[in-house]
Subunit: 418 residues, 2 copies
């Protein structure tokens, strides 16, 4: 049973740069994740430009349908930022100079070893009637409005500042404000061995028998499927029981094909297993060009197992650093079983690691041949005494080839770790 | 003068995974960029979940304010995808089985060496009255609706399929359909040496004197500012003249501080310069862990100058591969001038490159000391006979420290290339 009065959140992101695609909106996905963890359900996301009419329109619609409206962007010191003006208009108020805010701004500016100028000083003007949340990460104040039992919060669009404000101020305050609310539970499974439609056919009966409070979603991701079970209810105990029951059924149906029950990326799965087993990892990357290394090194604590990698973009590097025989490069080509095998062993040797992944391929758009068209990738993985290598033919997209190579390298290594 | 009847586009992205932040919406930014290049202005972006009521509501609002509505997502073969059902409802039509679509689906399925199953076959049911655009990149058909002189297009949410459909079918068709429309011009400058507010003060008079058809926007980006001038007009010649005039004024005001006039990333600036000058590059990365290499190798044709990189995450790797003296690591620590200098020279030597960037720092969240807190990063760059090194103190955020290290490494190398 879906709880009808579950608190609903709407996110409004403001900025012309978002509408012309100059900046990728990573904020709202992060906010949605954190809100979900705290039991808030995001129902709408809206993006508008720095246009007062459109901002006011978005505020009005959001107020008519959501309980909490979180607004990012448009509160910088420059003229193109007009969110503050729109807030004043929307809440029919005026700007007042706030000394406490000025003090915070001074602290931030001096902390960055800079001097306060007039434009930055003006950021201490805040809408009367709002609660100011002092921003310790930047100079634009966060403002919190309450009206008719609903809340609107305006915060900076700079990801670092937004995250600081959400974590330290906004989420705790929202939880205090709405003590009684509905509950949400997600359970994600990474599934291998199935295409999306084959998996749906396999799970047809299970899906038809799901209670109305639980939904199943399929998210294909470069050769794997992320399967997500979501339950919503106002009764926490009942929700936990329902989710436990359905999760158990699903696990029984998918037993050998579940790669992970955590909702994270393939590199996080490998990260956990390497830490658990105390195994070390090194990499030899050609066409993925450091992307695979960057996926692991984005994870805090990876230095416990990650010894390093070589981006051997040139044949010289393959030979000199990884010890690939030049004769084999000449005979078989750089994208070949012989070369990728020597790369994986070379990585294990020079980094003295238990496991390694080596990738050599043609990412495109150029460089394809009749024998090895764009998208051809050889991957070798090795762990202790095991080594396997496999040839793939992906796509014409450079970006896609790089990502699929990384994912498949990780999957293959997971298969040889025992 | 802004052209009032400029064609406006609204993007609607559909999927629960977007609202819970499980998947990052990269589609709409890419679509907005491409639409802009073709002279279409995106005014709203809306994200709704797989909820029929919300999808219908979004369609209705979009129809009331935009001329073109581009919809992504929710047309997969599984039950959670309900966009097709909502389209049928919205356009008051029914589903019909389309044999041409079935043929395309078969081609795609066979091309992937898979067998057609019932669920995938059902994707050949399309809304009556829509024009089907055959999807050569996947099994979900793209459907094009026309109503009251407005257009709605439904396409897959899978980025690869969406890009294929936009590039090959939708953009050309939109251009044919709307032959007469307003024009948009963007000119971006990467500016160094200024904070956002200092730059705004420097440009105050210029900004006040701008004609109404031209807007100036400030986008801070890890130590640099992206400054964007946008002009919109129905008269193309007039727009080009106005933009030429304002661009010239801005360049005169910023002369020595403009790093680039192209709207791309710092790595693209360096990419262009290295290609022009015929110089080669190598990298030695510690705390950035392959991220810097991945930025260059994402660019097609980087193999013309990029020889490779070492991700020397362990002290062993720094010593054995890059030739950093163990005594210096012990004496000064891995994050030190002595080590980063030897790393940059080591990279140049083993890859035999003209230029190199080396980065060693503490990305966090752990590993900080009193002397070197989290965010401490040493960067050395070298080109031909020049070498400079600098110490930075960034932030507490691992992600931010990695990105700022990459950007600053690139900026520093730009300063030593002559």
């Amino acid at each position: 049973m879906i709880c009808a009065n579950m608190l609903q959140v709407e996110i409004i992101t403001i900025g012309d740069e978002l509408l012309i695609g100059q900046v990728l909106d990573t904020n709202s996905a992060w906010m949605a994740q954190e809100l979900n963890k705290s039991g808030f359900d995001v129902r709408y996301k809206t993006t508008v430009g720095d246009v007062e009419e459109d901002i006011l329109d978005a505020f009005g619609r959001a107020f008519s349908r959501a309980s909490v409206i979180l607004v990012t962007g448009g509160i910088g010191p420059t003229k193109d930022d007009i969110t503050k003006k729109a807030l004043v208009q929307f809440f029919k108020t005026t700007l007042i100079f706030d000394n406490a805010t000025l003090e915070t701004i001074k602290e931030v500016v001096h902390g960055n070893h800079k001097i306060l100028n007039g434009l930055t000083r003006n950021q201490a003007y805040v809408p009367a009637g709002s609660t100011v949340i002092q921003n310790k990460a930047g100079t634009a104040p966060v403002t919190w409005f309450e009206k008719e039992g609903k809340i609107l919060v305006s915060m900076p669009g700079v990801p670092y500042e937004m995250k600081w404000a959400m974590t330290n101020e906004i989420l705790p305050r929202l939880q205090m404000f709405f003590r009684k609310r509905g509950f949400i539970r997600h359970q994600t499974f990474w599934v291998k061995d199935y295409s999306e439609s084959m998996l749906a056919i396999h799970l047809e009966t299970f899906e038809n028998e799901l209670p109305a409070s639980v939904k199943l979603a399929y998210l294909p991701a470069s050769g794997l499927i992320r399967l997500r079970l979501t339950g919503k209810d106002s009764d926490e105990t009942g929700l936990n029981e329902t989710m436990g029951l359905q999760t158990g059924k699903l696990k029984a149906l998918l037993s050998g094909s579940i790669l992970s029950e955590e909702d994270d990326n393939p590199e996080n799965i490998l990260d956990r297993i390497l830490k658990e087993k105390g195994l070390t990892l090194s990499l030899a990357e050609s066409c993925t060009g450091g992307k695979l290394a960057s996926l692991f090194t984005a994870i805090p604590g990876c230095s416990r197992y990650f010894k390093g990698g070589v981006v051997s973009y040139s044949n010289d590097a393959k030979r000199q650093i990884l010890g690939v025989r030049l004769s084999d490069i000449k005979k078989y080509g750089a994208v070949s079983l012989a070369v990728v095998e020597q790369m994986v062993l070379g990585a294990r040797r020079i980094f003295n690691s238990d496991c390694a992944i080596a990738i050599s391929g043609i990412a495109g758009p150029d460089g394809g041949t009749e024998k090895n068209p764009v998208g051809t990738v050889w991957i070798a993985v090795s762990c202790k005494k095991r080594l396997i290598a496999r040839k793939f033919l992906f796509s014409n997209s450079r970006e896609n080839n790089i990502l699929r190579s990384c994912n498949n390298g990780i999957r293959m290594l997971l298969d040889v770790i025992d």
